[in-house]
């Protein structure tokens, strides 16, 4: 059962947990903005690429570290 749960999480979340965390945070932020009566439509088109860029930078640094230790 634990293995199945782990498999499902791995299937959806994939290689970088940061992306899933960022998406949840962005949606929570958008929901809060909507709740407060503000315009929230801009948040995802700005926040989603920013989250991916951070994830790509993390991947780049990992490659960099691997190369320098090789």
């Amino acid at each position: 059962m634990r293995q199945l749960a782990h498999g499902i999480v791995d299937f959806v979340v994939g290689d970088d947990l940061w992306i899933a965390v960022a998406v949840v945070a962005l949606l929570a932020g958008a929901a809060a903005l909507v709740h407060l009566g503000g315009d929230a439509w801009w948040l995802l088109p700005v926040g989603v690429p920013a989250a991916l860029w951070i994830s790509l930078q993390r991947a780049r640094r990992t490659v960099q570290r691997a190369r320098s230790s090789a």
Binding site: D16, A30, W41, L52, S55, L56, A59, R60, V63
Partner: protein, 244 residues
């Protein structure tokens, strides 16, 4: 209409990418161990996937639309970003590109090395079933989520089946891995579509009113293409951008 077309295209492209990978394994098993068991394994996996889509797709369509859009949109967004991340890393040289020829060679060597008992070829049957099922699960997930949200599971499933049929026919004709398929470009396109659909639907799920309503989806797709290409270019320029 445009939404349904995009759902069809998204499912078809995702199916094409994953089925090319499954085809490589089925072909390797077929040419080394005979065709019967690999084809049976692949057919059984496709039957399981079809049942999964047929049962879960319409069941999801019955869920209240706002809840469905929030949950499924979030999942699509996470899933799409993972596809996009992988495609950008590969395009910029930070991750090795998936090589069908290499995968085929490795699978042929493994199939030759595996022993063979008398009777049915269990090895080929199991490997073919498992590979097709695992590759197909991502397609089933995309078909179910895209289809349910748009109320068009049939259209999404049709897209996946058209792509599957094309891959199978071409594979049967050439009997060689489809290494010339621009797999990473397809993955990039699917990532863009899933990310855009995910942003749009998850946004609606949390109560966002998109400017221009449905037209915002097209704008999100264009924007996502632009920043994804920009990220690829920026990473290509970095000195660490070498094949991993």
């Amino acid at each position: 209409m445009t939404g349904n077309l995009l759902v069809f295209l998204g499912a078809a492209l995702a199916s094409a990418v994953e089925m090319v990978e499954a085809l490589t394994i089925v072909l390797a098993l077929g040419v080394t161990r005979g065709w019967r068991a690999p084809l049976q394994g692949a057919a059984a996996a496709l039957a399981v996937l079809t049942v999964l889509v047929a049962v879960l797709g319409p069941a999801l369509e019955a869920v209240p639309i706002d809840l469905l859009r929030l949950v499924v949109g979030s999942l699509l967004l996470v899933f799409g970003l993972q596809w996009l991340r992988k495609a950008i890393l590969r395009a910029s040289g930070l991750k090795a590109v998936h090589d069908e020829e290499e995968a085929f060679t490795k699978e042929v060597a493994a199939a030759r090395a595996a022993g063979r008992a008398a009777g049915a070829d269990r090895y080929a049957l199991v490997i073919s079933f498992k590979s097709t099922l695992l590759e197909g699960l991502e397609v089933a997930f995309i078909v179910i989520t895209l289809g349910a949200n748009q109320g068009a599971t049939g259209i999404a499933a049709a897209g996946a089946f058209v792509a599957l049929a094309v891959v199978v026919v071409v594979g049967a004709l050439v009997r060689h891995p489809l290494s010339r398929v621009p797999e990473n470009t397809l993955k990039f396109a699917v990532g863009v579509m899933l990310t855009s659909f995910g942003m749009f639907w998850a946004g609606e799920g949390v109560g966002i009113d998109w400017p221009g309503a449905e037209a915002a989806l097209a704008a999100l797709i264009v924007l996502t293409v632009i920043w994804s290409l920009l990220f690829t270019k920026l990473l290509e320029r970095r000195p660490t951008a070498v094949a991993a």
